[in-house]
Symmetry: C2
Subunit: 424 residues, 2 copies
Amino acid sequence: MARTFRISRRRALTLAGVTAAAGAGAGVAAGRATPEATASPADPDVLSYPFHGEHQAGITTPAQDRLHFAAFDVDDISREELIGLLKDWTAAAARMSQGGSAGDFAPDAGPYEAPPEDTGEAMGLGPTGLTITFGFGPTLFTTADGTDRFGIADRRPQVLTELPTFAGDMLEERISGGDLCIQACADDPQVAVHAVRNLSRIAFGRASLRYSQLGFGRTSSTSTAQVTPRNLFGFKDGTANVKAEDPAAVDEHVWVAEGDDQAWMAGGSYLVSRKVRMNVEPWDRTRLSEQERSIGRTKGTGAPLSGGDEFTAPDFAMPGSGGRPIIAEQSHVRLAHPDSNGGARMLRRGYNYVDGNDDLGRLDAGLFFICFQRDPERSFIPVQTSLAGSDILNEYIRHVGSGIFAVPGGATEGSYVGARLFEA
Amino acid sequence: MARTFRISRRRALTLAGVTAAAGAGAGVAAGRATPEATASPADPDVLSYPFHGEHQAGITTPAQDRLHFAAFDVDDISREELIGLLKDWTAAAARMSQGGSAGDFAPDAGPYEAPPEDTGEAMGLGPTGLTITFGFGPTLFTTADGTDRFGIADRRPQVLTELPTFAGDMLEERISGGDLCIQACADDPQVAVHAVRNLSRIAFGRASLRYSQLGFGRTSSTSTAQVTPRNLFGFKDGTANVKAEDPAAVDEHVWVAEGDDQAWMAGGSYLVSRKVRMNVEPWDRTRLSEQERSIGRTKGTGAPLSGGDEFTAPDFAMPGSGGRPIIAEQSHVRLAHPDSNGGARMLRRGYNYVDGNDDLGRLDAGLFFICFQRDPERSFIPVQTSLAGSDILNEYIRHVGSGIFAVPGGATEGSYVGARLFEA
């Protein structure tokens, strides 16, 4: 099922010479110039990131504005069929991330008496910064009853195991877990949806969609060039995030190094996802003082309550009224801060979501939290343990979905994502 | 509960002199210049449309990229309280559509010991073309048991009545109907969500959210300057839409005229919404020839099967193979065409949606169809009757939600949306 790389005429018109450097997003390099390429580098529609490289795109890539996240269950197939799926996914993802169609037979360039190999709704749209990131869940390695489905049980990284149950967890099974995950991010939701839909189509008979989630308004900046966005509590979120411009921090906290654990994970990372429902209506009826006390920052500028501006380090020792610290001990900023967690940091890349409303007329809204880290046992797990235990915010939030995935390093051209996992 | 108009310092920085002419979107006029205004007119973040005028914005306004639609049930309140709600909504909508906060007490400019009058997640974002359009459902005038709740039963327009049941309808009560509706459209989903959330907050105790729907990738262009977008079947949709640049067609098909029916509806329009679930997986496994036969257009360019380009008029008489017309008699384009419906036209303004997936791993996706018209009995109802009866597409779609709303004319400054309905 190898697919040759062919760009449809129509899509070639929209491809232009804008390709940001992978990961760092620091520069704009020349892309595949075509004779028809006319768009200016300032056109966000033609922004594209390289698919191949040491790391998968979509981690340190400057966070795009829209998310379509999907988790899949693998059907009862063989190891070879699983490898075939990963090869097909890799080929399609590489094409789509450059603005191409998912398969050879786009609706305007294929046999008339067969289904098109691309569903068509992204025709005429540019890549709009699309990245597609693949991950492997613990159940891909060993099923609940201990079966080694694909002969990779002995290659499961030690840390790739179900997350512990945290205080207050109200997880729903049907929106948790998954054998495989795809994180598709783009600046146009139709492009991200098109990617997940076509990868789901390609998986037909081999893997099926378990759950999927749309998100918008990235809640964390992953580049110093980005403004810190706001979550649905109206606060800036992710000010102290690991940023792409700090390669030492990225290497220390995000990428798995050779020798960390399984060799095939070098250059990869671990993705933890948490669907966090926010009870926005009670929050909206809470006094500003209480909101700021819960977060530990001002709502307007995002400065810590100890003063300064958004990027001033919080002073947890500064006394407030009654001799207690001005930044409450159970505030979110304090509990989540690296200083409270042995220096633990992670790269957060979450998105806001609104899934309509519930039967009581309350918005079904919140945060689809995603983070990447070198070792969840040293970053997400201790931080979440601390938050789950005493964060004032817990009154207003509820964790309803959860996932953990090993995200392997990037594929080289001609290979596929996860190849090292299956090599002898 | 009158609110004075005050722009927070922070928001003033993002307001700039870009205000497109209401409705037509034909020009860019000078907005409220502030000393701090620095953004260039090319910045889509600061695009704004006037709120006040003869017609409500959000109808002939060039379709923005994102939708948050919400329907409300009015609580057991008095006529005066309902009028109070409409006044409060009007004031907040006017402010937000210009990039302002929902109320006076934004998080950075209000009393510390009270809840902010704006939830904050749009702070730092521009208006991004936000329009907020209000409508009144039939049940606002007369409840199912015939009660005249607000003394307006005799002002219900004749055509504002529950839609007939169409063949194949599988409507869900909980996502249909509503006493009031709000259509919020913007180019940034966080801005549209912020608008609905704050209007919902303002309604607390007076009206409650019945259902809400997010959409993206507008499926109809309402201006000749816009490219025709694609629906989730991958086809261009709405090529023959009523466009703002054709004022004669807009007057004939969209705006209610003086003398049409109830005087208070002059300058208004009727909104019909239909949530149309699309079975994308079977569609994606259908041959291209069958897809194009169902639609009556080519998938690539959108040209009718009788030839030409997207904007060529379809030739329904042109013979195809076997002596039958080349554009099938039961194709979507033919059944929906004005020539097949006594010249009926409407202004379509729908959006694609993806609400995750169902338990069988199928994308819960489709079209949130919205159209505006002068008289639904002469446009939407006959067209949908014809489509519901024989459209080949019915194999792949299912209507699951429905609504009809009277959208009054625009408010003048100092007044409120719907004021004429309540005047003596």
